[in-house]
Every structure is written in structure tokens, then in C-alpha cells.
């Protein structure tokens, strides 16, 4: 009946959880004390703690996560071409627009998303003026669908219309493909909801000149390995979400020789290279679909708690979990805390928007912020904050990245594979680096900063997960 006590007497090492008074007093007695800065798990909510307990120590879940992570890790995203959205994006049809974030109706769309929709309708010629375009959008003649439901991603408003050119990225390990539009640059651009004639003019040039020239260059190159560009860029001060300067440069190095060989008129080639060179964010529209291609490979693993999508439409924030199929778990998009461009302030900001948080989902962006210390000049904070943010993300992730590493952390792999259990348990939300859009259509970016998903997403996802698998 009486069990024999093992490991007696104890080793003299003590871990202290709770009052630091006891940690100090044990240290005073010469004990080897490990001190945990304890916080209530799951923000103290007992219902969630019960769900966590039910999922605790489950080897089948651990195994599912290992599989999901392995699929993510072994993915090889390669830029293989450019195509017309209507022709290449799965599930696309006429009179359909894709947008960032979880599903949303015209009525609930925020300013920048509405602006981008109006612009896209005019670009497609479904309406001649902004007023008409609004009527078309509101009249139910256009179908709205999230990019993420078509293996695509789009920054900010993320609007993709049928005739827009899109990058095609192929995961050479599993064969799945992902898609993203080409980056328009900064200032007045469709992704921030601008739809003035110059915006539409640029989009047309991108479709008519940029896309074909680049497409030919990509074809000649035989495909460009995005994973290695990202890995190198992390060692050059990028985190490939809010800072893409190094990655864009590396991309130019990789593509320029082939672009020159395309045989297009030199004036076009020159404009194409100048366009990419003049836009530090050009690579964002490649880092995003690369992340998407890797994560989509990890999606749909039964019993996996790994987050495969984090995305916002300017009104809602939504996540998807590998083991929970197509379900979105949503909550209100948050205000971004950060630095504003001169003349703008907090009142001008739209809530968090865009699919670009796919980078954080893949262990990049805010998760790799310690690799991109200069970014604090852009989003606010100190270098120590940048390191701290990355470091904290290890507490909510399944693993350390095998390919993407952070020099200042001793080349430690970036924190990768957000585990909904760990997020809920620790109460630590994923850290996202992001741009701030003006709340009115057409004004564009007004700043950049840091944001987290709303807690509800993870709470709902965990409860759903427990209901399904506990």
C-alpha cells in the first residue's frame, strides 16, 4: 500500500513557482534555485485550463505536430512563374474578388478594403466610376472570397481580381502551390485602398510589362529558391515582413541576369529592374506566398495543434489550425501600436489588416525580429525589445526553425510552429510586425508597428480542439 519514495533524499535543486520570497530564502540557504516568474495559465480561466489539461501529455497530438512540422520544414518553396489569377488560382471564377483575412461581407469591410475592392472593380472594367463600383460591390454581383481559401495571400487589403498577374510558388517537396500578386510599391497603392487613375495605370503596366518580363526571366532561371533567399536575408537585417530590403536585393541578384536575357526591349527591362530596385518591399509578395506554401503543406494534419494561418481583413482577425480543417477562429482586429509617419496619428489608423501575418505564422516577421534589429527604427521600441520579442515567441512555438536562424541569438533557429495550447497556456500572443493603413480608402500607409491577434481566436480554437479531440 505504501509506495516507496524514489530519488530520496532530494538533489538540493529547487524550482520555485510563486512567491519570490521563498526563492530568496532558499538561495540564502545555499540551495540551487531556479525561479519561475509564474503567471496564471490561460489568463487564469479555469474552463481553458480544463481544456488544456484534457490535451496534456497526449502523444498522438505530439506525433501529429511532429508530422505537421516536418511537412513545413521539408517544404521547398520555389518561384516558378507568373500567371493570370483567373487562369491559375484554384477556385477562382469570373466576377470574383479575393481579399485578405477571414470571410467578410461588403457591409462589414473597413475603409482600405472597400477602397481596394472599388479599385479592383474599376480595374476589371465592371464599373466606370467609384460610385458605380460601390453599387456593384454592394449589389451582390461580385463574390468575395478570402485569399487563404484559394492557396493565395495578399498584403494589406489583399485584393486579387481575375486579370491580375500573380506569382506562382511551388513547394517542390510536396507539390502544392501558392499565389500572390506583385508588389506595387509604397504610397498610393491598391493594397492600401487607393483607386485613383494613377493606381489603376500602374496596375495595368504591371500586368502588361512587369509580369511578362519577369515571367520570362523566371522561366529562364528555372525557378528561384525563395527559402534560401529568406534564410540569407535574416542574416542581413530583414525579417521579411516589415523589412525586405536585403531579400529584395538578393532577389534582384538572382533574377537580373535572366531578365536581361528575356529579349524584351531594353527600355522595358530597364523599367522592370528599376521598379523592383525602387521598392524595398518587393520581396514581401514573395516571402508571403513562400510562407503560405510551407504552411499549407502542414495544414490538415488530424490532431495537430499547429497554427497554419493568421490573417486579418481590417475588421476581423482569423486563424486556422492544422487539425481543425477549414474552420476560421476569429476575433476583432486590433489597433496597431507603433510609429506614425509625420502628420498622422492613432486616430487615422485602420485596425490591423492583411495576410502578411502569414510570415509570423511561418516563424518569420515578428518572430524573427531579433534578426532585424534596425526595424525598431520603423516600428518603435529598442533593440532589446526586438530581441525580447523573438525570444518570447519560443514559449509558444513547437520548435526552432531548422533553416531560418537568428545571428544575435547564437544562430538559434527562429521560433516556429505556433501551438494553440502553448499560446493559451502561457497567455503570450504571437507578435506581429505590420504596416498601418489609413482608415479611409486611398490614403495609404500611415505608419508601422506591432500588433497581436485578439485572444479570442486562440481561446475559441482551443475549445474547439478540445471538443473534437479530447
Amino acid at each position: 500500500m505504501v509506495a516507496t519514495v524514489k530519488n530520496w533524499p532530494p538533489t538540493g535543486a529547487v524550482v520555485n513557482l510563486g512567491s519570490s520570497v521563498f526563492a530568496r530564502s532558499m538561495r540564502d540557504q545555499g540551495a540551487n534555485v531556479y525561479e519561475v516568474e509564474w503567471r496564471p495559465p490561460a489568463r487564469g480561466r479555469l474552463e481553458l485550463i480544463r481544456a488544456l489539461d484534457a490535451l496534456e501529455g497526449r502523444e498522438d497530438i505530439d506525433e501529429a505536430n511532429r508530422v505537421a512540422l516536418e511537412r513545413y520544414s521539408s517544404a521547398q518553396p520555389v518561384l516558378v512563374g507568373i500567371g493570370r489569377a483567373r487562369d491559375v488560382v484554384p477556385g477562382f471564377r469570373d466576377r470574383m474578388l479575393l481579399h485578405a483575412g477571414p470571410p467578410i461581407t461588403w457591409e462589414r469591410m473597413s475603409g482600405p478594403l472597400r477602397g481596394a475592392v472599388i479599385g479592383a472593380i474599376m480595374y476589371e472594367g465592371w464599373a466606370g466610376s467609384a460610385e458605380e463600383a460601390e453599387k456593384v460591390a454592394a449589389g451582390g454581383e461580385v463574390a468575395f472570397s478570402p485569399c487563404h481559401e484559394h492557396s493565395a495571400v495578399g498584403p494589406m487589403a489583399g485584393v486579387v481580381s481575375p486579370s491580375m498577374p500573380v506569382f506562382i510558388i511551388e513547394n517542390r517537396a510536396a507539390g502544392n502551390r501558392s499565389y500572390c500578386t506583385l508588389n506595387e510599391g509604397l504610397g498610393k497603392v491598391l493594397r492600401y485602398g487607393a483607386y485613383s487613375p494613377e493606381v489603376l495605370e500602374r496596375l495595368r503596366w504591371m500586368a502588361d510589362v512587369l509580369a511578362p518580363v519577369l515571367a520570362k526571366g523566371i522561366e529562364l532561371s528555372g525557378g528561384i529558391d525563395l527559402k534560401s533567399i529568406i534564410a540569407q536575408a535574416l542574416h542581413m537585417g530583414d525579417e521579411v515582413h516589415n523589412r525586405n530590403r536585403a531579400a529584395t536585393s538578393l532577389f534582384i541578384r538572382a533574377i537580373a541576369p535572366y531578365v536581361i536575357d528575356t529579349g524584351y526591349p531594353l527600355s522595358d527591362i530597364r523599367r522592370v529592374l528599376e521598379f523592383i530596385n525602387g521598392n524595398d518591399h518587393f520581396f514581401l509578395n514573395l516571402s508571403m506566398p513562400a510562407a503560405k506554401a510551407m504552411l499549407e503543406a502542414a495544414h490538415g494534419i488530424s490532431k495537430s495543434t499547429m497554427v497554419t494561418v493568421m490573417s486579418r481583413n481590417g475588421t476581423d482577425f482569423g486563424i486556422k489550425v492544422s487539425g481543425l480543417g477549414d474552420r476560421w477562429f476569429t476575433g476583432p482586429a486590433q489597433k496597431v501600436k507603433g510609429l506614425y509617419f509625420p502628420g498622422f496619428g492613432g486616430d487615422d489608423a485602420n485596425p490591423d489588416i492583411g495576410d502578411s501575418s502569414i510570415t509570423e505564422t511561418a516563424g518569420l516577421g515578428g518572430f524573427a525580429m531579433a534578426a532585424a534589429i534596425p526595424i525598431v527604427q520603423f516600428v518603435g521600441g529598442t533593440p532589446e525589445d526586438a530581441v525580447g520579442f523573438s525570444r518570447r515567441m519560443y514559449s509558444i512555438t513547437l520548435s526552432e526553425n531548422r533553416f531560418f536562424s537568428i545571428p544575435v541569438l547564437g544562430f538559434r533557429g527562429t521560433p516556429t510552429g505556433i501551438d494553440i495550447r502553448k499560446v493559451v497556456e502561457t497567455g503570450i500572443l504571437p507578435q506581429i510586425n505590420t504596416g498601418i493603413a489609413h482608415k479611409d480608402p486611398g490614403i495609404g500607409q500611415v505608419g508601422a508597428g506591432l500588433v497581436t491577434p485578439p485572444w479570442e481566436c486562440f481561446e475559441k480554437a482551443l475549445l474547439a480542439f478540445a471538443e473534437r479531440y479530447a
Partner: protein, 315 residues
């Protein structure tokens, strides 16, 4: 990055402060702080005293160890003799955050718990001054003379510093002659005179003002409703010459309020026997380096002049 964000990250487990200090007694003026209706910041930190200051920089609250006495704007804490406010990483400018009406968080390290604190009651507020006992005055005078102190007013009490004695006498004469100009000039040389957060001259004025307020209360109860008389106007006219904290103590004295040991010394002088007066005088003189002594000088002179010239009831 917003301030609240970084701070939320830094905050310890469950908001756990390192020390949770029990307030033993608190004056009524702590209501504003505890209810959150008035915001205070740490003004100054000493080993055994901590001053809070409101946002206008005009109202002060002081935390002291239990043995150091209370008051309307004071609270006493149960501290061990060796404990020091300097150990708690408290720095001027930190906000004193009220929580659920009974607790105040000071920085990340300290919570002061007022939930079972006793309310400090002023002895003077209910006191009607009667005849001043000569024996009590003698006890106070002897206590002052027996003190060795660095205060410049030591010489004024025993007569060795005729300059300062003349200055103090000018106060007496000016009030009795209702000469506002002369009073103002004398006060101007007194207030702000001497070193420290509460200069010696200020402390003398505190003692005199408190005594006048208590006698003045009797006078007002007797029908005269002049509120601020010659002295009060004169003192207020020179307050800008000194530190905000010291000015606040003088204002309080004008309103008839002061630290427990000061009020007690005056209370004993007015209502108790020589033995109690001696004990109270000893406690008062022990306050600060010179403050207690200087306030005692003010009390003594005002009381002595009241007995001889009805000075407190004049002007």
C-alpha cells in the same frame, strides 16, 4: 512602443510586489489618494519618510514609520527599525496608484495597505484653549534650552543671537501694532531662511501659525469672522520664497493642522500638566535635525506672547 506595453511585460508574477506594508494610522487627507480622485506621485524619498505630491505640486502626503507620529496629511506604517524606504527602488516621479480604495501601489515593489488603518484624530480640532499654564511654558522653555542643536534659533532662545532675537521680536511688535508692512518684511527674512526641505525659519513660522490658528479658532467661535488676518496674509505673501513642501506645511499650520508631535506639544501645553508637556516637548524636539526644535521655538514664543500680550488673538 507604448509605455503600458513594456511595463505589462516587465510586471512580476500576478502583480506581486516585494513588500506589502500595513498602514497603521492615516489622516483624513488620504481619502483623495485612496479613492483615486486625486493623483499623487512620489515627491521625495528618505530612509524613514516618503513624501507624495499631488499633480498640482501643492498638496503633500507623508508616510512615516509608526514611531514617527501621524497627522492629517500623514500615515504611519508598521516598519521595523532597520527598514528603509530607500530599499524599495522608489524614486521621485513614480505614480502612487490607488487600488480598490484601500491599497496604494508604489512602483513595482511596494503596496501600502490601508484596509485596517486607524483614522488619526487631531487632538486640537476639539480643543478650546483656556488659560495658559506658566508651569507648562517653563517646561517647554527648559526643554528647548537643554537641547543642543545646530539650529540658528538656539541663539535666539537663550539670547546669545541678538540679531535673530530682534527679528523674532519684530514679529511680535508688528502684529501687536497691526503693522502689515513691518510684519511682511520680518516674515520675508524668516521664510526660506536656513537649509533643508523645511528651512529653520519656516519651521518657526509653522509653530507660530499653528498656535495662532488654535487661538484664532476660539476667537472666531467668539464672533469675529475675519478668517485670514494680518499674520495669515503676511505669511501667505512670502510663501513663494520657500520650497513647495515647506510652504504646504505652513499652509496646513495656518489652517490649524500639523504633525502629531507638534499638535501634541501644543495640546499638552494648553490642556495637560507639566509632566505630559515635558514628554511631548521631548518628542517634538526629536523630530528631524532641527525642525522639531524650531517648531518648538515658534510654539513657545507664540504661547508666551499670547499669555503676556494676547498676541495670537491680535492681528
Amino acid at each position: 512602443m507604448s509605455h503600458s506595453m513594456t511595463r505589462a511585460l516587465d510586471r512580476g508574477p500576478a502583480g506581486g510586489a516585494r513588500r506589502h506594508l500595513g498602514a497603521v494610522k492615516a489622516g483624513r487627507r488620504f481619502c483623495g489618494l485612496l479613492s483615486g480622485s486625486r493623483r499623487y506621485r512620489i515627491h521625495s524619498v528618505f530612509a524613514r519618510a516618503l513624501n507624495l505630491c499631488d499633480e498640482d505640486g501643492r498638496e503633500f502626503l507623508t508616510l512615516l514609520p509608526l514611531s514617527r507620529g501621524c497627522g492629517a496629511t500623514y500615515a504611519t506604517l508598521a516598519l521595523a527599525p532597520e527598514e528603509s524606504f530607500l530599499d524599495f527602488e522608489l524614486v521621485p516621479g513614480l505614480e502612487a496608484e490607488a487600488r480598490d480604495g484601500t491599497r496604494v501601489q508604489l512602483g513595482l515593489e511596494v503596496v501600502v495597505d490601508f484596509s485596517s488603518a486607524l483614522t488619526w484624530e487631531s487632538r486640537l480640532s476639539t480643543m478650546a484653549p483656556g488659560q495658559l499654564s506658566e508651569a507648562n511654558l517653563l517646561v517647554l522653555r527648559r526643554a528647548l534650552l537643554e537641547t543642543s542643536t545646530a539650529s540658528p534659533f538656539r541663539g535666539a532662545v537663550d539670547g546669545s543671537d541678538s540679531g535673530l532675537a530682534a527679528l523674532l521680536d519684530a514679529l511680535r511688535a508688528a502684529v501687536l501694532a497691526a503693522d502689515g508692512t513691518r510684519l511682511g518684511a520680518a516674515l520675508a527674512s524668516l521664510v526660506g531662511f536656513g537649509p533643508g526641505l523645511t528651512p529653520s525659519g519656516d519651521d518657526v513660522v509653522v509653530g507660530m501659525s499653528l498656535a495662532r490658528a488654535v487661538f484664532g479658532r476660539a476667537r472666531r467661535a467668539g464672533g469675529r469672522r475675519d478668517g485670514g488676518g494680518l499674520w495669515e496674509a503676511g505669511v501667505r505673501g512670502v510663501l513663494a520664497r520657500t520650497h513647495a513642501l515647506s510652504a504646504f506645511f505652513i499652509e496646513e499650520a495656518l489652517a490649524g493642522r500639523s504633525h502629531e508631535f507638534v499638535e501634541d506639544a501644543l495640546g499638552c501645553l494648553l490642556a495637560d500638566g507639566p509632566q505630559e508637556t515635558g514628554l511631548a516637548a521631548g518628542r517634538l524636539i526629536g523630530v528631524g535635525a532641527t525642525s522639531g526644535f524650531d517648531i518648538g521655538v515658534g510654539l513657545y514664543l507664540a504661547a508666551e506672547w499670547q499669555r503676556r500680550y494676547a498676541w495670537c488673538s491680535s492681528g
